[in-house]
């Protein structure tokens, strides 16, 4: 069966520090991968999506970047965190159009 792993679960980082959040999927090949951010009172915002290795599309200009070094690995990064980067980050995957997503357990990031 397919599973999605996301870590760490919580993270407290100072302003200006780097960030690396990792997401991996098991049990499927060539998934579509997504990073969402759930900010308080603002719902789910699509940040990045990837349809294949090395292919990244950004939906919202921001202080973050994403990479997909392997088929089932999706990484969210920042060189210098801002206070406004605080939020709940969710990774998700899907196998194809219209099938909906399976979400990871999320990472709660607090930038202090």
């Amino acid at each position: 069966s397919q599973t999605i792993h996301q870590w760490p679960a919580t993270l407290v980082q100072p302003v200006g520090s780097p960030l690396s959040l990792e997401c991996t999927v098991e049990g499927t090949s060539n998934p579509n991968l997504y990073w969402y951010r759930q900010a308080a009172g603002r719902g789910l915002q699509l940040l990045f999506y990837s349809v294949g290795i090395g292919q990244i599309s950004s939906e919202v200009p921001q202080n973050l970047s994403a990479s997909r070094p392997q088929d089932r690995q999706f990484i969210l990064s920042s060189k210098k965190l801002l206070l406004s980067d605080s939020g709940f980050y969710l990774c998700a995957w899907s196998v194809g159009p219209g099938l909906g997503y399976t979400f990871g357990s999320g990472t709660r990031l607090t930038v202090v």
């Binding site: 603002r42 719902g43 789910l44 990837s50 349809v51 159009p97 219209g98 099938l99 909906g100 357990s105």
Partner: protein, 115 residues
């Protein structure tokens, strides 16, 4: 660009009351529609989905939603809520694009059911 609107930010109901959460989207093409639920401390889970066919779809835990194309709406309903339905509910729309099937989410509706 696609957008999804959930006008109810916080709904408070007593147990056994009926529920209807509104969802409207803005996209004129082919769409798939979803409702996700996030129970306190848990992952986002798929509640129900509409792809095609009967516009009234039934999901888990007694929830249903009706797709009304002319109104660009996909409202979620439940005839009698339970305390365990307390959660945050997200409507999502997948508008077909080349490549990835991107889901666009509404801002969510927090449902609090009072025993």
């Amino acid at each position: 660009a696609q957008s999804v609107s959930q006008h109810n930010h916080h709904v408070i109901l007593s147990e056994a009351a009926s529920l209807e959460l509104g969802c409207n989207y803005s996209y004129g093409g082919t769409v798939n529609l979803f409702w996700y639920v996030q129970y306190p401390g848990q992952h986002l889970q798929l509640l129900l989905k509409y792809f095609s066919g009967d516009p009234l779809v039934k999901g888990i835990k007694g929830f249903e939603a009706e797709f009304i194309k002319s109104k660009f709406s996909f409202n979620l309903r439940k005839p009698s809520v339970q305390w365990s339905d307390t959660a945050e509910y997200f409507c999502a729309v997948n508008a077909f694009q080349t490549g990835a099937n991107n889901l666009f989410f509404g801002t969510g509706t927090r449902l609090t059911v009072i025993p």
